[in-house]
Every structure is written in structure tokens, then in C-alpha cells.
Subunit: 296 residues, 4 copies
């Protein structure tokens, strides 16, 4: 198995590292010289453009910031589809809209190239530890092959459905996540203001019907969840601006199919407000700041 | 232990039944003759007013629809505080605002009567089975006694803090619950419209950061959670109008302490809209109807 | 015509002054000694309680903070209904829920006393100048008499319908006002951030379909509307906490008739947030602060 | 003056007609044969593509559905910029995002071609009657020339600022419009449910601080505003899906500059919900349906 890895940033670089650690040959490309330097130090082979990296590969993994970069890497001037052989496999782990990857997969299918989506959850910590969750959208007959490729990078590889289903699962999950985090922030801040001990309140919620990932694992009130960003000034978490990006994808996808997102539409703007106020890099659980009086 | 039980309706009647089953003597009152008939059939002793029932008791439990009834039963013309002896214990399991029970407890304290709040979760099914969760607000030195009284009716008796803390915990929990249910409804409806299989989507969410009680135990999409109301036409659940009542308590309490509930304020109105459209009696997970095209 | 005026605060004191200026005899009551002092200086006759003032009157005007005060003044221990003669007229200019005044009017009707609601708009400036708008709810046959009483205090006396209709009109108007002000704040802040000159933008809006009282008369962007609070640090306007009170009345009344207020529910919480942040006394157009980056 | 008019649909066709009526020569293009037929009947000269039409012209007017069409017509394969002479003037009256027209204008500027934006309000009725409002974004020195071109089509030609300012003004105006319409719908529906006569209520609002274009000119309650869509089943108005498009532009532009639109984010989804329920073609004042009980 010869792998080309396009996009060696905060996430992609760590993921490629795990492939190299597993003894695989990885041909890589990134626009950043720093990213390339880390990659070659770890044993990767760097190329001047995506196409050059893909020429040596039968599997391509992409991890890119947005849909336009994904389109460019697959279909653009130095795009990989132009050089891949029939029977190749491409896995896009970027978080983008479902339609874009469906469109690209349709182009690939004409050339006998299987393209699937496999966005991740788990953040840079999961990328480093090789414990990411991959939400895979692909034809059933390709899933086993996808699984074998992703195995060194993740501990949880879920087949969500046909191409695009991985992206759909991710944006729906993160839509719920973004709303429930704000809900927990409202509830914790209300309880504290009303005089209940936040620890006691969290205890009740987490053993009752209000419990959710945001109340248990990443409670926005400092000191509730062990190791949550709230305990370290909301640093080193899932940045508010990334949550904002994912909510934007949800709302865009919803608009395309004429589906209303009443809470989603509001909560997107609340995270936007948080970013405007200078908190774009903080963990999204810092939304609780909107519910606390400003410090003197 | 001689118990007076005031309020023998859907919840209170079943709770009193479990006390009788435990071999306790229960003096009861309710305005409804039907409720009284069920109570006496089960071995309870009925009285013409709350005071008459309380005269025979050293423990009073109240389970009433709203704050005004609670005030009336404790402080009104035939109120129980007028006849209880020093050292008596009163437990209010109604869901009301935290301030009202604090005010009543202050009156009781002057007479040497301990009054605490212990609202429940678990619904009529939990009431019948004796598996309710009680969220108890009381001074620490009274908690053990409260626990021994509530034991025949619940499996989970949580000490939340001082008087009022039980109500605070409940309204904060239900605030988060009401929002997260609507969030799951939005996410499931979006995913389904985008073409992912709802079972697969729920699977991803429930093993990821979107998971919550509303996605796991009471998923609003039919057929996902075993025994959830969604699978039986949203019947026999937590009625939308009761969720609406609890959200109203959260917003009222928040207003008293000048705390904003941005999502709470919106979601209250969404459940209000659902009630206006004739769904007040359906389980609150029927909020998903607002995200589905109307049937032809 | 002998008038009793109960409630001589910021609004009521100025209104009573205009009655005195018109040569009328005014018997007054207020809890505040300062208010009483101003009133007697202007020629009013002060009493120790509402009842004492009302005994000398055939017309009672009330201007009080909230429904509980109104109930107390009409129906309480020293309430005015106990001493008024058949044929008396009572006008409540407080802003309260519609149901309370209907209930009080029903009591009055049994004694042959006509009670109507006449909440005002125009603020303390209008109260001083005698240019208030009165929104009157009363039987048609009493409107002429009400008009003659209110004339020295207002320039616009509108008959809205039966008792309670004045309050309904006011809360519906202020609901729209509270939302449209926030809408103008969003639009002006967006335009400015996108680079259009705020003056030019306001010019377009005010000659187009976005125009409203909030964009024309009280634009939240400083320097657009002559004499608007935005031009003087949002001072001396309609305090955010009063807007919050009126939105609370709207939402309470809506809840009683099972009517959803989706934008109203959200906007109430936005003003609540503004109050939490220390701006309760500022004009409600200061909501625009939520749309501007915090100053360094 | 030789004019090329690209986009002869519902709006553009009527606008071109008014230019022809003013005795001008108009070279036109549209993809629809029906549109072309109406145009040539009225005296226009039709061409096979935008470029062919523009070759004969020194002024180009475009009226197209979305940004991608505008980009294609100016910069695409048969784009007009390739054939226009130095000194030509282009006026885009489409409603699109501000950035696209700025980008296109920058390309034009290099060729000495002035390109400006002039989106309209007034709908198909204003287009037919020649009474549109044009919101013009252009350098000051070009405004007079723009005005002379637009005069036969509009009665109100406003200079909003530099290129893009017309689009900014339009999306900010329509953002406020979309919110205030929903606000009026909430207020009117609430008042009616509380029992006030809708005519009386509208009268109070329109002479008070709740008044706005949506309450006066286009009240969503049937029978209030003369000639409003509410009086004819919400037909022949500003289609909900067009309001939805404009709100989408506002939110997209706001996202680009990190500006939150809290009410805008919610109201977009409310109109989306209305479209999902089958009302995309109805006037956007039909949003009031969300506040009324469903008919039996």
C-alpha cells in the first residue's frame, strides 16, 4: 500500500505520522514549509504538488480546511484524479459539505476510482494518539479497504452509509453538540446564580435527563469535568471558530434541502458573537461567558 | 411514622400507593373524588381537608400542580402548618419555583417544623414502580430522615443542597433537557432529509459528542430508542405542556435573578407553538413535527 | 370633578401636576415622602393612604409599578373601591397585564363604578409636557368621560376597545417595538461593519421597507436621529429594564392564551442579558452594544 | 446611448420595457425563449449571448438571479467585459453579495470600465410602473451618469456609497424588514388572541412606536393595509423564498466580517420553515400562519 497524504497541518500532520509509525510509505504534500519539514523528519517523502505525490500512490488521503481546497486537490490543475490509476482509493477526511464530496466521487467513479468521505472527531489529541473516530461514507463493498487504511489513525471507524454520509453524520452531530453545549452553559449559569453548588448541580444533571457529552465530559463550568478546557481557561479545546465553521456547514446543507434549523440558526450567531468578542481560539464551551456578568 | 399525603393525582396517587404497600399509615386529601376513591381502596384514610389529614401526622408529603396550591396547603385557611407539631417534617414534591418553598420553609422554621423540597423525575411510570429520582433541598441534618421517608417511592434520592436546591436542580435539568430534545429533533430531521439512515445517524451521535439522554433514551425519531414515546405516536410520555410549565419556571426564576436564557427563551416558545397546534398532551419529543413537512 | 391620584412617582407626579395646572382639585397619595412633597408644593392635597384620598373624589387615577400594587390599591385593606360612590370613574394608567384590570373592573361593576385601563406611551418627557398617548380600554359609553379627564395630560387619547384593550394594545405595540429596535441594531451594525456610511444606510432604510420608529426616531446608531438617546450615551430614554418588564407582560399574557412569541421570547432574553451586563438604566436602544466589538 | 440588458425575466423584462418606452435602443439577452419573445415584441433586439448584445452597447444593465450568474455574464466565457470599450458603464441590479460586485468592478476598472451595483426595491409592480427604488453603489463621479440611465425605470435613485454599498444597503434593509414583519405578525396574532379588534390594534401601533412598513403598508393581518398581499391570500407579493434568499445574503456577508445576527439567524430559519411547509411562493407576510392555530 502506497499512500499519498495531502494536507499535513495540525490534524493531517499527526495522522500521517501515525501511518509512518505503522511502517507505511507516505508521499505527502502541503503548502506550508514548516508542515513539510515535520513530515520529512518523521520519514515522509515530500512533493511539490498533490499530483506529484499521488502519482506514486494507490491510496490518497486528504485533510484540508474547506471544500474549495478539496475540489482543487481532486479536480484542479494539479489535481490527483488526473494521475490516479483505476482501482485507486481516495479518502477525504476534511470536514466539508456533503454535496461536494458526492460530486467529486461521481467524477472518480467514471475513472474507476473509489472516493469516500471520512471526517473525524477527536481533535488534535486524538490525531496524535491515533484514537480518532472516523465517520465513513462509502459503498459497502469498499468499507473494509477503507477500514484497513484508517486503522493506524483511529480507534473507532464507523460506516455511516453511502458517499457523503460521513459528512452528514458529522454536521448533524456537531449541530446537536453546539446547541447542547450552549444549553448546558445556560443551565449551569442559571443554577449557580440561583445559589446551588455547581458540583451538586452537575451531579444531578449527569444522573438525570439533562445529561449529555457537554455536561459530563466537557462541562463549561470550571472544575466539573476532569481535563475539560473550562479548567484551563478554555484553551486547547475545540476552537469556537471551528464550531462556527461546522454550524455554517449544517445551515448551508439545511438550506439546500429546505430544512429549518431554528435553534441551529440562533446558536450559530451566538458563537459568531463570541468570536467577534475575541474568543475565536477558545474552546467553544467558553460560550458560558455570555451568561456571566462581565468582570470588573 | 404517620404520613399525611396531600395531592393524590396521577403522580401523588401512585406514590402514596407505594407508601401503603410498604405498610405505612397514610392520611390523605385530594379535591377529586375519583382520586380519593383509589386512595381508600388501596388502604389510605381520607379526610375532608389538608388540615384534618395533617393533624394525625408527623410527616407531610405534598404533590400539587403549582405554587399557588402549595402555598394554600401550607399557609392557607385550612393549611397544615397551623396544626403540625414541633419536630414534624414536610416534603414538597411538587415542581414549583424555588423561592416559594424557601418562603414556606422560613415560616415552618419558626414553628420548629422542617420543610424541604423534593421534586421528582421519572414520570407516572417511575411513580408507579417506585423508581422515582428525588432531588432534595434540605439542611444536611434532615437529609437522612427525608431519605427514609422517600425510600419506598424512589430508587435515587439526591441531596442537592439547602431548601430550594431541589427545585433549582430540577428546573436547570429540564431547561437543558428541553433544549437538547429540540436539538436532537433538528439534527435527526436534517440528517434524514440529507439522506442518511436515521438508525446509522443515531448510532454515530450516541457514540460521539452529540449524545444525550434525548438522543439515546428518548430519541424523537420513531424506532430509534426502544420504548420511547416516538415509537407509539408520542403518547404516554412527558407531556409537552408539562415541559412548557417547567421551562416557564426556569425563565421566571432566571428573570428574578436577572439571568438570560437565550436558547431557553426561544425553546419555550417552540413548545408553546407545538401546544397551540394541538399537541399539548403528546410527549415533548413530538417537537420533531416542527421540522418535518406536513403530511398531505 | 374631584380627582384622586394614586402613585405620584416619575410619571404620575408629572401627570398630576398637569391636572393641577388645569385648575383641578387633586387628592393624592404616594408611599414616597419626596413624591408627596413635590405634589403638595404644586398645590395637591396629600393623604395618608389611597382610601383617604379617594373618599373626597369621584374620579380616581392610578399610576403604579406593577399589578400587585394595582390590586392592593383597588381591592386591598385600604383599597379605594371600599369608599367610592356609585357612578365614580377609575382610570388605571399603570402598565400591567390585561387580565388583572378586567378582574378589578368586574368587581367595580358590581358597585356601579366604571373602571378602565389607559396605559400611556411618551415617557417622562410626554408626562411633563402633557403630550402622552393614552391607550384606553373601556365601554364605549364611558369613553367621552375618560377623554375629558385625560385631556390635560395627553394629546392623543385612543379608544382601543373594552376594558383591558388598552393594556393589550400597549403590550403588543411594545413587543413589536422591542423586536424592531433589535432588528435595526443588527442591520445598522452589519452595514457599518460592511463599510457603508451609517448616515447613508439610515437614509435608505428610512425611505424604504425597513423603516420603523426605531430606525427613524430612535435610531440606535449615535448621531442618526436628532435627540435620540444614542446621541447622549443612551441616557434619558426608555430604560432597558422597563422594556424588559413590558416584554415580560407580553410573554405572560401570551402564555395564558397559549400563543407563541418566537422572536419575543428571544428578544426578552437579549434585553435581560443587556441588564445583566449593567445596562438596565440605559435606553433600550443600547441593545446595539451586543453587536459591537468590546472596546479595548 | 446604446444599452445592453442581460436578464429579461420577471423584473428585467419589465425594466427593459420601460427603457424601450423611453425611446432607447436596447440590445438584450436571456436564456428563456419566452422572455426573449416578450422583449422583441416590445421593440428590443435579441442576441444569442451576453457578449453579442454588449458589443453594440456602451451601457450594460444586468438583472440576474444570483452571484454565479453575474460572475458568468461579466467574466465568463461569453462575458461582456471582454468586448466592452473603455469608458463603458455597467450597472448590476441583481441582488447579490457585496463582495462579488466589488471583485468584478476591480476587474472592470483595469479596463477603464465603470461597474456599479444598483439593486432595487419595489418588486414586479414597481418594475412595471417604472417606480423602482435603486440603491446605487458607485464612485461619486459616476453617479450622475448612472442616474440618467436608471431614470426611466425608477422614481427614487439613491447614492449609497462606493461600489458594493447598494448591495449592503439592500441586505441591511431587508434584514430589518424580514425581522419586523415577523414581529408585526407576532404582535397582531397575540392581540387578536387576547381579544382586541385587529383594526383597532393596527391603528394604535401605526400611531405609536411599533409602527413600521410591515404594520402600515403590508400588515400581515388580512384587511388592515389596503392592497396588501394579506388581503388576497398572500399572493402577488414579495415571495417568501426571495426574502429567504436575501436573509441568506445578509447572514453570509455577516459571517465574512464576523458580525452576529441573532434575530436574523432565527428569522431566516422561520422563513425556511414556512417554505418547507409549502409556502415558498406566498408573500413573506404569510409568516403570520406560524402564529395561528391550524384550521380544522
Amino acid at each position: 500500500m502506497n499512500i499519498a497524504f495531502i494536507g499535513l497541518g495540525n490534524m493531517g500532520g499527526k495522522m500521517a505520522h501515525n501511518l509512518l509509525n505503522a511502517g507505511l510509505t507516505v508521499h505527502g504534500f502541503d503548502l506550508s514549509e514548516v508542515a513539510i519539514a515535520h513530515f520529512t523528519e518523521a520519514g515522509g517523502i515530500a512533493y511539490a504538488n498533490p499530483q506529484a505525490a499521488a502519482e506514486r500512490a494507490d491510496v490518497v488521503i486528504t485533510m484540508l480546511p474547506a471544500a474549495k481546497h478539496v475540489k482543487e486537490v481532486y479536480l484542479g490543475e494539479n489535481g490527483v484524479l488526473a494521475v490516479l490509476k483505476t482501482g485507486s482509493l481516495c479518502i477525504d477526511s476534511s470536514t466539508i459539505d456533503p454535496q461536494t464530496i458526492k460530486d467529486i466521487a461521481a467524477v472518480g467513479a467514471k475513472q474507476g476510482i473509489q472516493i469516500c468521505d471520512a471526517p473525524v472527531s477527536g481533535g488534535t489529541i486524538g490525531a496524535q494518539a491515533g484514537t480518532l473516530t472516523f465517520m465513513v461514507g462509502t459503498q459497502s463493498n469498499a468499507f473494509e479497504r477503507v477500514q484497513s487504511v484508517l486503522k493506524p489513525m483511529g480507534k473507532n471507524i464507523v460506516h455511516c452509509g453511502e458517499v457523503g454520509a460521513g459528512q452528514i453524520a458529522k454536521i448533524c452531530n456537531n449541530l446537536i453538540l453546539g446547541i447542547s453545549m450552549a444549553a448546558v452553559a445556560e443551565g449551569m449559569a442559571l443554577g449557580a446564580k440561583l445559589g446551588i453548588d455547581p458540583q451538586a448541580l452537575a451531579g444531578v444533571i449527569n444522573s438525570s435527563s439533562g445529561r449529555c457529552w457537554s455536561s459530563e465530559i466537557c462541562n463549561p463550568w470550571p472544575g466539573i469535568s476532569a481535563n475539560a478546557p473550562a479548567g484551563r481557561g478554555y484553551s486547547d479545546g475545540f476552537a469556537t471558530q471551528l464550531m462556527l465553521k461546522d454550524l455554517g456547514l449544517a445551515i448551508e446543507a439545511a438550506g439546500q434541502v429546505k430544512q429549518p434549523l431554528l435553534l441551529g440558526g440562533l446558536v450559530q450567531q451566538l458563537y459568531q458573537q463570541l468570536c467577534m468578542q475575541g474568543n475565536a481560539q477558545l474552546d467553544f464551551s467558553s460560550i458560558i461567558q455570555q451568561y456571566l456578568p462581565k468582570e470588573a
